[in-house]
């Protein structure tokens, strides 16, 4: 993690515009993001530190459709003066999307190292699976169980309180 504090966009003098970072998605779309918002991503933070030239940062793992939303997320979370309650509600709406999109958000947040987005989306998936039986979970993630019936019985007994 970078130890230097992110430069505050409020520190920019009125005559100088806020620093914008350009990002290029895997499918060639370009997006602009305020530096303060970009610093939500550790990956971008490192890239900004290294290369201050104006060329767009290529992100070969993120499509334009997803990158647009990620930029939206980071910008919202960099906004000053948003209270916790509203931000939580906004986040809930943000992830109220199709499963495929949630999956894409997870991978993008992981690649870009955005802890807030990564945790938010992983929590969504956790919510999906928490009511499921072990067998259903195995199916969704394509996990082959290698417990023998006796072992499974033992594990079930050991953790019986969670099944009651």
């Amino acid at each position: 993690m970078s130890s230097s504090p992110p430069p505050s966009s409020a520190a920019a003098s009125p005559s100088c515009p806020k620093k914008m970072i350009a990002l290029r998605s895997s499918d060639g779309e370009t997006f602009e993001i305020e530096e303060a918002a970009a610093l939500q991503s550790k990956t971008l933070e490192n890239m900004i530190d290294e290369d201050c030239a104006g060329t767009p940062i290529p992100l070969p793992n993120v499509t334009g459709k997803i990158l647009a939303k990620v930029v939206e997320f980071c910008s919202k979370h960099a906004e000053p003066g948003v209270d916790d309650e509203s931000l939580r509600a906004w986040d809930a709406e943000f992830v109220n999307v199709e499963q495929a999109t949630v999956f894409d958000y997870i991978l993008a947040a992981n690649f870009l190292e955005i802890p807030t987005l990564l945790n938010l989306t992983c929590n969504v998936v956790a919510d999906m699976i928490r009511g499921k039986t072990p067998d259903e979970i195995r199916k969704f993630f394509n996990i082959k169980s290698i417990f023998s019936p006796e072992e499974e019985e033992e594990v079930r007994r050991e953790n019986h309180w969670a099944f009651e």
Binding site: S26, K42, T43, N61, T63, K65, I66, A92, V95, N96, V97, E98, Q99, A100, T101, V102, F103, D104, I106, L107, A108, N110, F111, E113, P115, L118, N119, C122, N123, V124, V125, A126, D127, M128, I129, R130, G131, K132, T133, P134, E136, I137, R138, K139, F140, F141, N142, I143, K144, S145, I146, F147, E152, V155, R156, N159, W161, A162, F163, E164
Partner: protein, 445 residues
């Protein structure tokens, strides 16, 4: 956070259109269908992160999925991840409390009939986890806790048990989810049923034991407190820190609540609040609000503030009876009323309670009000959403008489008493206590 993996597959947005539009909302309500074509591609490390977000009962059920998931509970990497990402879950844990002092109790763990003369002795080593978000109950067992111990405090995912016998007190810290057992060194002064306060952070343990000093084998007096401290910085005090209690105080073996560097407990006859400042090893008294009109006051911690919950009865004035909640202001001496039970509900509540009194515990935004003598009638108040509801009775507690049972028979009348509890899969802070029993001290005195 792991480094970027260059071989990660492209996101799937353009490779297929999602089917099942009726199920395309991935919000958590209802039972969502999960598309295995999507989720089977989730990398292992990200799946671990998803698992880290599972609440405890779901996590323990998930251990059945495969050997890898089973073993996560023992994986330091996974536990470290949980420590970073798992949200706070403000739950409660309840225990049975016998209310007939003459009951002859047969200890489940042994074959001896074991007469218990104390009314605070517990039935069996079983606790009932209550999740106020989902309104669910689970039964947890404590097979390692020996008989002769009772639960007395909870903090940081750990439960503290104290020896019942009069004398110096032995304390045990236990993580209910994994069944860990960590004794503390015994206290130094003999006591009967002291009040015990506990506060645990990832890097420190503080315990205070107060009151019920045995000044002779048959006489108790509230004279002193002793405290225990250990932290990762190497500082420790093994009960050597003692302090005098304020004169003529009456703690009644009540619970202590920790808020911002202090332990608080109720003082009775007349009502006031005692505060113990851990840093300065000092006790002081705080006047209670409306102290002459309070009934069944309890102290509760919520979001860094001390709350007092009590019924108010002003018999001489024409003021309707009510149940109110105050919080202690930062100055530490003045209270502000913040909540009042809706009058209609209070009428219903008082009718059921019938003057028996009630006890409260709180955690996060929740307060649980338990009617004395009644194991199946408790109210849950959500301070955030301003919602009051009767809790469903604990399904694991049976055979006892509910509220309707009145004073009938010696059969198993009991009530539940509870603690705020934050379930945590790992509580590595107890490792510091293990060092105390090791002959080679690794930190300086």
């Amino acid at each position: 956070m792991e480094a970027f993996n260059a071989s990660m597959p492209l996101p799937f947005s353009y490779l297929f259109t999602s089917e099942g539009s009726a199920a395309n909302s991935s919000s958590s309500s209802g039972d969502p269908w999960m598309d295995t074509r999507i989720w089977s591609k989730l990398p292992q490390s990200l799946l671990d992160r998803v698992i880290a977000f599972l609440p405890p009962p779901a996590f323990f059920r998930a251990r059945l999925v495969c050997k890898r998931w089973y073993g996560l509970l023992f994986s330091n990497t996974f536990l470290e991840l949980c420590f970073q990402v798992s949200p706070d879950r403000h739950c409660f844990i309840f225990f049975k409390n016998k209310i007939h002092s003459t009951y002859i109790y047969q200890n489940n763990n042994s074959n001896n009939n074991h007469p218990r003369s104390s009314s605070s002795a517990s039935y069996s080593m079983e606790g009932y986890l209550f999740n106020p978000y989902e309104i669910t109950w689970h039964r947890l067992s404590f097979p390692l806790i020996p008989s002769g111990f009772s639960p007395c405090a909870s903090s940081g995912g750990l439960l503290c048990w104290v020896s019942d016998e009069a004398g110096t007190k032995s304390l045990i810290l236990c993580n209910p989810l994994v069944g860990s057992f960590t004794p503390l060194p015994p206290t130094l002064r003999p006591r009967l049923f002291p009040s015990i306060g506990l506060t645990i952070t990832p890097s420190s343990i503080d315990v205070a034991v107060a009151g019920d000093d045995l000044i002779s084998p048959y006489a108790v007096k509230n004279l002193s407190s002793e405290s225990f401290h250990i932290d990762a910085g190497g500082f420790f005090s093994l009960w050597g820190t003692t302090s005098s209690l304020p004169r003529l105080c009456s703690l009644e073996s009540g619970k202590m609540v920790y808020v911002e560097g202090k332990f608080y407990c109720m003082n009775y006859n007349p009502f006031s609040v005692l505060a113990y400042d851990i840093g300065s090893n000092n006790w002081c008294k705080i006047q209670a609000p409306m102290r002459r009109f309070l009934r069944s006051p309890s102290l509760v911690e919520s979001k860094g503030r001390l709350l007092l919950v009590a019924a108010v009865e002003k018999s001489k004035l024409n003021v309707p009876k009510s149940l109110r909640i105050w919080f202690l202001q930062d100055c530490g001496t003045a209270w502000v009323e913040m909540e009042r039970m809706p009058l209609q509900l209070y009428i219903q509540f008082a009718d059921i309670e019938g003057g028996r009194g009630f006890d409260c515990v709180g955690n996060g935004e929740f307060v649980v009000i338990m009617i004395r003598g009644c194991w199946d009638k408790a109210l849950l108040f959500d301070m955030c959403r301003k919602r009051w509801q009767w809790m469903p009775p604990c399904p694991f507690v049976g055979g006892g008489w509910g509220c309707s049972g009145g004073g009938g028979g010696g059969g198993g009348e009991f009530e539940l008493h509870g603690f705020a509890y934050e379930p945590k899969l790992a509580t590595p802070v107890t490792g510091m206590l293990d060092q105390l029993t090791h002959p080679l001290q690794s930190f300086s005195c």
